[in-house]
Symmetry: D2
Subunit: 359 residues, 4 copies
């Protein structure tokens, strides 16, 4: 449900409605739409009753269990700024990098190729969470240093994973986009912590999460007041084993219809084999994705982690050309090589990120 306040409603009236909603067990969350104060809350007939309170303009029923993430709440697309890059706008955003940061030297080898291929965001794990405690990988916290340095030098905002609510603030100072890993998609404490701050978040879909649960996880972040959420599809767990997971590209179509949030696709993690990454990247763009996350390694055969799925930098450049044509067929643009003169001053200089239409 969505309780829309009158523009003239005062702080005490808003507070009174919030209190009433809380008393009804509706878990109200304050948000802003088109400049007006709104209160999202649980679907319930009790919410309708609050329509009579002073300052309430009307109560809107929302058909989905998520409210702020829905197209019913916001018809237009959300555009999330990641450093100098916009995700969800006409131009598709390619994020790329190694599974786990191994060294500055390796990143320096990769970065120019990423730019040449049209990539605009540099990704990489500092410490890669793994199913086994004996398989941990990464150089944390040092891994973030090379990522930040190389990103800064090459004008590429950076994305990396945050795993613990207590680390959110520190990570937010060091990366442009905070990533929630698939296994943490329903780590609600982490989602709440991410909602309490204003850095953009890329929320990967859990391998057994329904699309509805995924959007509800996004709602946790939005409900905290952070409107910068990017969704990332990376495959769901099925009986098929020819690929690591089954890339659910229809999820892109479903999300674009149901939500205003941008959604990107990570074909590398989904299929787990280099040979299939290109086809799935092309398909993702054709399906309407707002961007891609692709693993790249200068020498996949020697990668510490997931080398079998990493593209070589030259593969990525070739792929970029295909993507540009397909993007055109679906009314989007895929950027060409980043101009070498382009140079953001890095994370430090990234202004406060902003969502165009939501707050």
């Amino acid at each position: 449900m969505l309780i829309i306040m009158n523009p003239s409603a005062g702080a005490d009236e808003i507070a009174a409605v919030l209190r009433a909603a809380r008393d009804e067990g509706l878990h109200p969350r304050l948000a802003v739409r088109d400049g007006a104060t709104v209160i999202a809350c649980a679907p319930s007939q009790r919410a309708a009753r609050l329509g009579g309170l002073t300052g309430v303009r009307r109560v809107e029923a929302i058909a989905t269990p998520y409210v702020l993430a829905s197209r019913a709440f916001q018809a237009g697309d959300t555009v999330v700024r990641v450093g100098s890059v916009e995700v969800g706008a006409e131009e598709l955003v390619l994020m790329a990098g190694p599974c786990v940061v191994e060294s500055s030297a390796e990143l320096e080898l990769v970065a120019p190729a990423l730019r040449a291929a049209g990539a605009r965001v540099l990704g990489g794990g500092a410490l890669k969470p793994r199913a086994s405690p004996y398989a941990l990988l990464g150089l944390c916290p040092e891994g973030l240093e090379p990522l930040g340095d190389v990103g800064s030098r090459h004008g590429l905002p950076i994305v990396s994973e945050v795993m613990d609510p207590s680390e959110v603030a520190a990570m937010a100072e060091r990366v442009d986009l905070l990533q929630v890993g698939a296994h943490n998609m329903q780590n609600f404490e982490l989602l709440k912590a991410l909602g309490q701050q204003r850095h953009p978040v890329m929320l990967r879909r859990g391998p057994s999460a329904t699309i509805e649960e995924w959007l509800l996880a996004a709602e946790y972040i939005l409900a905290g007041g952070n409107t910068g959420v990017i969704l990332c599809e990376e495959g769901i767990r099925t009986f098929e084993r020819a690929t690591r997971n089954t890339l659910d590209l229809s999820a892109v179509a479903v999300v674009k219809a149901a939500s205003h949030l941008p959604v990107i696709v990570d074909p590398s993690h989904a299929v787990g084999r280099r040979a299939y990454v290109g086809a799935m990247a092309r398909a993702a763009v054709a399906a309407g994705a707002d961007g891609l996350f692709i693993e790249v390694h200068p020498d996949p055969g020697r990668a510490l982690c997931d080398g079998a799925q990493a593209l070589r930098p030259t593969d990525l450049e070739r792929l970029g050309a295909d993507l540009a044509v397909i993007a055109g067929a679906v009314g989007r643009r895929f950027p060409g090589p980043a101009p070498t003169t382009e140079r953001t001053s890095g994370r430090g200089a990234c202004g406060p990120f902003g969502i165009r239409s939501l707050i």
Copy 2:
């Protein structure tokens, strides 16, 4: 395993090797590759021993459990002829039609639009098998009559489903392409009957079939001597319910790498909702599919069956334009409107279908 005979090997030598393989329990199947007689059989060290028999040139190990369907058996793509249409060649093939044939009038309404959109094959169920005995649909056997008549009049070969081994021969006289429904993918008696004849077959993937099982089902048909097999992906059953099934587009990439058989995609049955069909059709072409099967109905709101997923004829025309651009980006062509002068004389006149390279 594959036992390759010398070109000079006589019928009695071939018979002797077959007998020996049968005695070893290897279930040998005679086939032809590049003009030479070969014998496909079970992977087994016992097959290697047959290398010493007279007339045997060499024994080739095949890494996959399917032999005749593998790229190791045949490196080049198989092209299957359906009436006057080639499936698996450079030009993508769009098959389209209603879920179940309701009347000649309805088909007549749809056929010109199909041609205009670039469709080259007309599909439709005569009797639609359904999970419930109270939900059967169709006018069988009369349904095939209108399908054949309208196809003939508009120069569109037709495809329809065969369900019983005993009906294969009669159906083959009436349709250009015999379809095996997803729920029958492992109806081995049906597969064997289809292998014993020479009409091309479109084999839909079962909702819980692995890609390997799907290719093994194709192998049943190929092993009977019928080389005209087209695969059709229509989604797998997963936990996600926002779509009917989960369209597994990575299966297209996997099949194209592992097999020489053409593979098409049916987004309509996979997603079950019109709104997502276009995006998935575009994605399928980008993923490398050899064609599409799309449900179309002149008035989806009044369709007897699956109206929610059927496109309107005008939707299909618009989609065709997008597909042409994407096809170009992946080195394929999507045909424009069929010339109105084109006119095959229908099924009767369809020459014997042939596979380019396999027999």
Copy 3:
């Protein structure tokens, strides 16, 4: 929907109602309940309208898409007779045998142990359908001969699989219970053929079939007039690979609540490893199954097929003792060793099977 006729309704009145229902597209099926003629048909408001026809007592709404298989149609449990054995009564029925019949000698070794363990039905495949055409197993049609002979000699009715509608009649003369394999659960032509005759049928659940689809498949057989349907759960396909499939024991509880049909469990095929068969057999009885199907082989290490999951005869005897205790805890009985004097005259002498309450 269920249309209940007056006891006094004449044949012409029944025919008129059937005709009217057919005209409404309701796919009506004649059945008998408590001696009264009833007509099962599709759920539809049009069915309600037929309540005004002469001879109709009332029209009953059935909440489930299956009608004849539901508890709403028949509250009491159906008991299916297989030769001299009752399935679905207080006494649990153990069916056992090899995956595929290898020889009379092997069966002779196994049969006494089965009797000693409390088994009452002898099962075995004549020809085992396999995913690969190179992996076929069996001696068909000779395999049925030893099965019949040994069953006859040891007083054990026999069960084997039928795969083709055209073979139903011949098989029905040779086995006491016709089995539909999991991959054929939605082979509707086969289901219809089995509904047209009066031999009992064991319907295995397809690996990706929902419980509702499984009961609808049973409905196909019931709707043809054959009331002797036994369900068999053998696991569903999931992401877990530690077992072949995931045995869904909650399906037993769901089926027993929703349907009057007996349901047995095959732990051997579900788990695929001997070490887990005993635990799952015990759990199945505790869950309320009406019986078990367990693979047994005199020398599992040398079995042609699925030896890894077959119990040794001595394992089965030990298991029988546990089952007896658990059966007691859930209000059932597990039979002790079959008396050596027991001797049915075999299939030939099996009277017409009968369902206690349904017709």
Copy 4:
């Protein structure tokens, strides 16, 4: 791999081996087996090389990716003490309580019935994590107070969920058993925090976790030095929707074969409907589970959460009688009503928990 040190090895020798293993990237973890120091580490040929270091007795290859959780590491069953209760011993342990604690009064109503039914642990959520931010339930942190008070008064140790690494220490002072919810099974930061302390942990299986991943999650806790891990199966996510999840009882058999850790089953969350809970509880005991977790509510129709799956206290008492018989059939005991004189002094008095054989 497992590096076994000589009993005489000194602290410096152990430190040197640890250092060498760390340098090899093997992520070594110190543990104790039968009084001897051992070092678990990644499976690798590099580990074998460490066999030559001073103080190393031998290096043992472990076939599974988990080491400390495997039967190869410890053949005998682990028994975990939860307050005064032993989990994993001959006597089965029934844990029960409401989904979420609503009030002291409600718990007081339930507690005597639990004792009468044979339950030995009281469970309940203080704050129930939910997929939607608008559906949160619970009175946290006050919820733990009534749970602790009522548990103490009735001599029942308590179990409740911990969600954030930063809350582990505070929770450990208030509950006897720390629970990891299914959605947090791969929240590795939480697992590590739980490994660093000595309170026992119940690790619920994630809905899409393989058994191997579940045991690897347990390994994270064990590898930190906390040997008190209880596994809890509560169903996996499949395509079937007649039950909330599909209870995977074969997982019990697989875990008992592969691991020494106790495993209990929660049928309530798995099936989601009261009508099926009893059958699944019986089946779990027959399958070899070490205990059960069952939801109970004094008035399920008015429960704040999951009332549809909660048993009434009287249902639980009846169920207890069945469980006792089945337990006997599988060589276990199910406790009768707890003697009213029994009275632990509550959490405060729970001595340091201990695992019999591991450390």
